[in-house]
């Protein structure tokens, strides 16, 4: 069966090992998840985990939150202790960037000139932060170390981008006592991923915290600021696969188990353009920890010979100031936005429907709605708007 490990590693000893039964490209959430889930599924072949960074694999979410504000140190968000990789017989190949893949020869060649061969290739290279010349980005630990160093002497900070990373960066730098201007060229915050009610609430909240929020305007002159941070999204790192002929475009297209159109090559995480069961209209990419972890787990299970199509309910979180923001479901293509509770109270939810069906909920300090709404979205039925928006009616009571 395709995807089943078909040969054992023939070369566990001897250095440097450059052939792996499974070679995973990328040391972020998806790559780490793929490696660990392979072992959990009983895979006994050799596993190589290859990435550009020289840091031990770490989680990204704290970078724009607790690591930036200094409440967590770099040792606090390693995925796993260094010893675990040896214990699980996962070989870390760090400081390497793949520039070309040859699916026929089953090789991946790095910028350094080193070539790795593989039985199965799992591409979890993620995305590269879009950069603005002279501005800091927030994608890697090195990015945030540079940002933190710059913030030591900066007073007036410009944050470009009113998406999740920009908002978290604005909250963190404001918390550090900086004078912060947040610039978003769209007329509202989170224009691409959330509804107006949440945008309006967040504008008010950031202003209340002292951030100057500028919407729908040309970017201000960077020279007026001591430091500039750009949180303007990522470009998926799919180049070598697309060059090798993989289907895709904005990312690499995969099936429900994470297979690309190239033989023995799989992909998961930020880079994977996939048909998500919660968005029927078109393939999408999802940039979240949940997605990276769960889709990579699906790939690992398929490679280990126990395919389990990826069908997880999407979820996401953000922390800004004392706000706990949580999303469940995907609001893509919603045709209706309902507000449950009173935004002015600082505890409310925004519900998104498509043709009468609940498809996503953004929750602000409302864990209960987040938790209970999941089942309602999963069920997929039509629910009456008046009952959905009555905060006295628990969402779980609407699950039939």
């Amino acid at each position: 069966m395709r995807g089943r490990r078909d040969r054992q590693c023939d070369d566990h000893r001897g250095a440097p090992l450059s052939r792996f039964d499974v070679l995973i490209i990328g040391t972020g959430h998806a790559g780490v998840s793929a490696a660990l889930h392979l072992r959990q599924a009983g895979f006994t072949g050799s596993i190589g985990l290859l990435g550009e960074e020289t840091e031990l694999p770490y989680e990204r979410p704290p970078l724009s939150k607790e690591y930036l504000t200094g409440t967590r140190g770099r040792e606090d968000f390693r995925f796993r202790p260094a010893a675990l990789w040896a214990e699980k017989a996962v070989t870390l190949n760090q400081g390497e960037r793949v520039e070309a893949v040859d699916p026929a020869a089953r090789t991946a060649t790095c910028v350094s000139g080193r070539t790795f061969s593989y039985g199965e290739l799992v591409w979890t290279a993620g995305g590269r932060a879009r950069r603005v010349p002279g501005a800091h980005a927030i994608r890697t630990l090195a990015d945030v170390d540079a940002l933190k160093a710059g913030l030591e002497t900066a007073h007036r900070v410009l944050v470009i981008g009113g998406g999740w990373i920009g908002l978290e960066a604005a909250a963190a730098t404001a918390k550090l006592g900086k004078e912060v201007v947040l610039h978003e060229r769209e007329p509202r915050l989170l224009a691409r991923c959330s509804g107006k009610a949440l945008s309006d609430f967040l504008v008010a909240e950031h202003r209340r915290q002292g951030v100057e929020v500028r919407l729908g305007a040309e970017a201000p002159n960077a020279a007026e600021f001591d430091l500039v941070v750009a949180g303007i999204g990522i470009d998926p790192e799919a180049g070598p696969l697309l060059a090798a002929g993989a289907e895709g475009g904005d990312g690499v297209l995969v099936d429900e188990c994470g297979r690309t159109s190239l033989p023995n090559i799989w992909a998961a995480g930020d880079v994977a353009l996939h048909w998500n069961r919660f968005v029927p209209e078109r393939p999408i990419r999802i940039e979240s920890v949940q997605h990276a972890n769960d889709q990579a787990a699906s790939v690992a299970k398929a490679i280990a010979g126990e395919p389990k199509p990826y069908a997880a309910m999407p979820w996401f979180w953000s922390n800004q100031y004392d706000l706990k923001l949580q999303t469940v479901g995907l609001s893509h293509d919603h045709d209706e936005e309902l507000v449950r509770g009173e935004p002015g109270s600082g505890r409310f939810s925004v519900l998104y429907r498509r043709r009468g069906r609940l498809i996503a909920i953004d929750c602000v300090n409302m864990v209960r709605d987040y938790v209970q709404g999941r089942a309602l979205i999963e069920r997929g039925g039509v629910v009456d708007a008046a009952r959905l928006t009555d905060p006295d009616v628990p969402l779980k009571s609407l699950v039939e």
Binding site: R80, K324, Q326, R368
Partner: protein, 107 residues
């Protein structure tokens, strides 16, 4: 500083004693101790339930009370028991030296 110990039973029934670390959450300590089953996807901000453990009954009184958020999140788990906790919500320190926990099944 004396060694602090956490006794962990993993999903496959193996018992392990790991080094406790004061000032970190039980979740962070389990993860740093190599208990890979503790996914802790949200990093400890009480947004997922992937650090779910059962705490041995005799330690119940030593634990901080369940918050409303933790209670709500645990309610999403099909494996919830009376002694279920999210390990990210339990600060570890000398008072919990020797605590016994079992990793809950995957949901």
């Amino acid at each position: 500083m004396t060694d602090l110990i956490i006794n962990v039973t993993t999903r496959d029934g193996h018992a392990r004693a790991i080094q406790g670390q004061e000032g970190r959450s039980l979740m962070e300590t389990l993860r740093a101790g190599g208990i890979e089953e503790i996914l802790a996807l949200c990093g400890g901000c009480c947004s997922c339930a992937t650090c779910h453990v059962y705490v041995d009954e005799e330690w119940a009184s030593a634990l901080p009370p369940l918050s409303e958020d933790e209670d709500d999140l645990l309610a999403t788990s099909g494996a919830r028991e009376a002694n279920s906790r999210l390990s990210c919500q339990i600060p570890f320190g000398p008072a919990l030296d020797g605590i016994a926990v079992t990793v809950a099944p995957e949901d």
